[in-house]
C-alpha cells in the first residue's frame, strides 16, 4: 500500500545536552517527491535526516513512514537508504559487492542480485569498474557507487546528506541533473539535505527552509524565492535589499507603507496586520534602471558597479538609502549606465514583499 504522505514528521524536538538542536519540527513529504531541507550550517538538517534513517531518536514527537510510526524501529528494518556525505563505501569490498550488500541482507536470491547490481552499475555508468575496490575512485565515481548502492534495494525513501558538497563545481552541476533524472525515473521519494540555496532551487519539488532548529518555510522553489514569509528566508535564499519601512495601512494582503526615501507605496504583505515598523524585501534583479525603470519609480545615483559580463551589479544611493540592483546586459549596448550617474530606478509593486521586522 502506498501512502500519499511518504513521511510525516510531527512535533519532533531534540536536545544534545543543554543545546536544543530541533524545536518542535513538523512537516510532511509526499510520495515521489524531491524534497529538500535547506538551511545554514548547524540548523539540524543532518539530525533530522538521521532520525528518518533511524540513527537518532527524537526526544519528543513522532515520525511516520508511509503512515507507520517508526521511532522504535531500528535502521536495518526501515525501507529507507542513505547516501552518506562521505559516501561510506566499504573499502574491503569491490564496487559490485558494495552494491550487492543491501540486497544480500534483504535475502534476494543470487541471480536476481546479479541482475540488479549489473543494472544499477549500468545506470550510474560504472559497469567497467565493477570488480575494482573503492579506494582508487575519484569523488564523482564514489558518489555514483554510493547512489547505486542506496538505490539498488528499491527503498521507499532515499536520504541524501549534502551529497554534492565534496565534488568540484562542474561535476556538481552534472550530478544535479543526474540526480533529478534518477529521481524521476525511479519514482522514489528523495529527501535531500543541502546548505546551497541554488542546488535547492534547481532540484526540488518542495523545499523546507530550516533555521535555528525550526522550519521557517515550506514551499515550492518559486514560493520560497518569490514569497518568503520572513526575513530569515528572504535573506538565506538569494540576494535581497531590506528596507526599513513603516506600515500605514493594511487591506486584503496588501499594505500601504512609507519607504525610507519618503515614497508611500502599496505592496503585497501576506500575514502582516500590525501597523508600524516592518521590513520591505526587494530582490536586486527586480529593480530596473534607466529606460527599463517601470512600476514604482524614483531616482537614484550609481555609487558602485560590478560588471559580470551577462549582468552588471549596481549599488545605488536613493535619498541616503543604499539599494542593490542587477541588470541583464541584453545587448552590446547593455552596460551603458556610468558610475555617478543619476538615473530613474523602479520596481513593480508585486515583486516586493513586506516582512515582519
Amino acid at each position: 500500500m502506498t501512502h500519499a504522505k511518504a513521511i510525516e514528521v510531527q512535533s519532533v524536538s531534540k536536545h544534545f545536552g543543554a543545546y536544543q538542536a530541533l524545536k518542535s519540527v513538523s512537516f510532511h513529504i509526499a510520495s515521489n517527491e524531491f524534497f529538500t531541507m535547506l538551511g545554514p550550517s548547524g540548523c539540524g538538517k543532518t539530525t533530522l535526516l538521521r532520525m528518518l534513517a533511524g540513527f537518532e531518536n527524537p526526544d519528543t514527537g513522532s515520525i511516520l513512514l508511509n503512515g507507520q510510526e517508526v521511532v522504535s524501529i531500528p535502521p536495518h528494518k526501515r525501507r529507507v537508504n542513505t547516501v552518506f556525505q562521505s559516501y561510506a563505501l566499504f573499502p574491503h569490498m569491490t564496487l559490485e559487492q558494495n552494491v550487492a550488500y543491501g540486497l544480500e541482507n534483504l535475502g534476494w536470491e543470487k541471480g536476481r542480485i546479479k541482475n540488479r547490481v549489473g543494472e544499477m552499475l549500468e545506470r550510474v555508468h560504472m559497469s567497467a569498474m565493477a570488480t575494482r575496490k573503492p579506494t582508487k575512485l575519484s569523488g564523482g565515481q564514489r558518489q555514483r557507487i554510493a547512489l547505486a548502492r542506496a538505490l539498488a534495494p528499491e527503498p521507499e525513501v532515499l536520504l541524501l546528506d549534502e551529497p554534492l558538497s565534496a565534488l568540484d563545481l562542474k561535476l556538481r552541476q552534472a550530478m544535479r541533473d543526474e540526480l533529478r533524472t534518477l529521481q524521476r525515473d525511479t519514482g522514489i521519494t528523495f529527501v535531500f539535505v543541502t546548505h546551497d540555496q541554488e542546488e535547492a532551487l534547481d532540484m526540488s519539488d518542495r523545499i523546507a527552509v530550516l533555521g535555528g532548529g525550526e522550519v521557517q518555510q515550506i514551499g515550492t522553489p518559486t514560493e520560497i524565492y518569490e514569497e518568503p514569509v520572513n526575513r530569515f528566508v528572504a535573506d538565506f535564499v538569494g540576494e535581497t535589499n531590506f528596507l526599513d519601512i513603516e506600515v500605514l495601512e493594511t487591506l486584503g494582503g496588501q499594505a500601504t507603507v512609507r519607504t525610507p526615501f519618503g515614497l508611500d507605496i502599496t505592496v503585497p504583505a501576506a500575514g502582516i496586520t500590525a501597523k508600524g515598523r516592518a521590513t520591505l524585501s526587494v530582490r536586486p534583479e527586480k529593480i530596473n534602471l534607466g529606460n527599463q525603470a517601470q512600476g514604482i519609480t524614483f531616482e537614484g545615483r550609481v555609487t558602485n558597479k560590478n560588471y559580470m559580463g551577462g549582468y552588471t551589479h549596481y549599488t545605488l544611493d536613493v535619498a541616503g538609502t543604499e539599494l542593490r540592483a542587477s541588470r541583464r546586459n541584453a545587448s552590446r549596448e547593455g552596460d551603458t549606465i556610468p558610475l555617478g550617474a543619476t538615473v530613474p530606478v523602479g520596481f513593480v509593486a508585486g515583486s516586493a514583499r513586506v516582512l515582519a521586522v
Partner: protein, 309 residues
C-alpha cells in the same frame, strides 16, 4: 654503450656525496647494530650451536657436533643405543600449542567487545580506560600470578565465596590446565586489547551506520564490516599473545603445579635441574622454528590479502 659513457661523469660527481651519506649512516647506526648483534642475534647463534653440541657427563657440554639433542625430542635411547620412539615431548609440544591457541582465542573473544566499548566512549574517558587496561603491566607478573593463586587456591577467595552459596567446602581450582589457562589469559589480555582497540578506533563509524542502513543487523555488521576491517589489529594481537604464550613458564609452573609441563618449563628444566643444555637448546630451536613458520604463514596470508585487487 654511448648511453653509459654519457652518464659516467655525472655518476663520478655524485659518488663522493653518496659515499659520505653511506659513511654517516654506517657510523650513525653502528651502536644500534652492535646492540642488535650482541643482544639479539649472537645469543640465538649460541643456542643454535649448543643445540648441536654434546652433553657433558656432569652437566655442561663439549663442542662436538651431535644431533642427540634433537633426536631426544622424538626418541629415547635404550640401553643398547637403539632409538625408541617416545611421544612424551611431542605431547608437551602439542599441549603448549593447544594452551597458547586457547589463550589467544579466549583473549580475542574478550578483547573485541572490550575494545569496541572503549572506542565508543568520549575522548577523556577513553584515555582513562586505555590506561586502566595497561595498569597490570605496572605490577610484577609473579605477584599477579600469585594473586590468582590466592583467588583460586584452597581457602581462596573464589572457593570461600562459593561456599557461601552452598557449595562444598575446601574446593580448589588450582594445579590444573584450567588454572594455567586462566592466568595465561589474564596476563596476555592487555596485549590483545591494545592492538584490537587501535584498529577498532580507526574504523570509520559511518561504515557501521552504512551497514545498518543497508539492512545489516548487528551480527551481519560485525561479520561483514567490523571484523574484516579490523583484521590487521586482530592478527597483531593474536601474534602478540600467541608467541609469548608458547614460551610461558610462570603460569604452568605456579598455577599448573609444574606436573603438566609446557615447552617453556621444559626448556627451563633442561638448563636447570636437568643439566642437559643441548637438549634444552634443541627444544628452544624447535620452538623458534615453529613460531617462524607460524609468523611467515601469517605474513604471507596478509600479503596475499593486500595483493587482491
Amino acid at each position: 654503450m654511448t648511453d653509459s659513457a654519457l652518464n659516467a661523469p655525472a655518476r663520478l660527481e655524485r659518488a663522493p656525496r653518496a659515499r659520505l651519506w653511506h659513511d654517516l649512516s654506517f657510523w650513525g647506526l653502528l651502536p644500534s647494530r652492535l646492540l642488535m648483534g650482541f643482544a639479539l642475534i649472537l645469543p640465538i647463534f649460541i643456542i643454535a650451536a649448543v643445540s648441536v653440541a654434546t652433553r657433558g657427563a656432569y652437566g655442561g657440554f663439549t663442542w662436538d657436533f651431535n644431533l642427540a639433542g634433537y633426536s631426544q625430542i622424538l626418541f629415547n635411547e635404550g640401553w643398547t643405543g637403539e632409538l625408541e620412539f617416545t611421544p612424551q615431548y611431542l605431547l608437551i609440544i602439542g599441549r603448549t600449542f593447544l594452551l597458547a591457541g586457547a589463550t589467544t582465542l579466549i583473549c580475542l573473544l574478550f578483547a573485541v567487545p572490550v575494545a569496541y566499548f572503549i572506542s565508543r566512549q568520549p575522548a577523556n574517558r577513553k584515555a582513562i580506560l586505555v590506561y586502566l587496561v595497561t595498569l597490570p603491566f605496572w605490577v610484577s607478573m609473579i605477584l599477579r600470578v600469585y594473586a590468582w593463586m590466592i583467588i583460586l587456591g584452597k581457602d581462596g577467595t573464589l572457593p570461600s565465596l562459593l561456599e557461601q552459596f552452598g557449595f562444598p567446602a575446601g574446593m580448589s581450582f588450582m594445579f590444573n590446565d584450567g588454572a594455567t589457562l586462566t592466568a595465561m589469559v589474564y596476563t596476555a589480555m592487555p596485549l590483545m586489547v591494545l592492538p584490537v582497540f587501535a584498529s577498532i578506533e580507526k574504523l570509520d563509524g559511518t561504515l557501521i551506520e552504512a551497514s545498518h542502513d543497508l539492512y545489516g543487523d548487528r551480527w551481519v555488521t560485525l561479520r561483514r564490516v567490523i571484523l574484516p576491517l579490523t583484521a590487521p589489529g586482530l592478527v597483531a594481537g593474536a601474534i602478540l599473545v600467541f608467541v609469548p604464550a608458547l614460551g610461558a613458564v610462570l603460569e604452568p609452573t605456579l598455577m599448573g603445579g609444574g606436573k603438566q609441563m609446557m615447552m617453556g618449563s621444559l626448556i627451563q628444566l633442561q638448563f636447570g635441574g636437568g643439566r642437559n643444555w643441548p637438549f634444552g637448546a634443541a627444544i628452544a630451536m624447535t620452538l623458534m622454528a615453529l613460531v617462524m613458520l607460524f609468523l611467515i604463514d601469517t605474513a604471507l596470508r596478509a600479503a596475499r590479502r593486500e595483493a587482491r585487487p
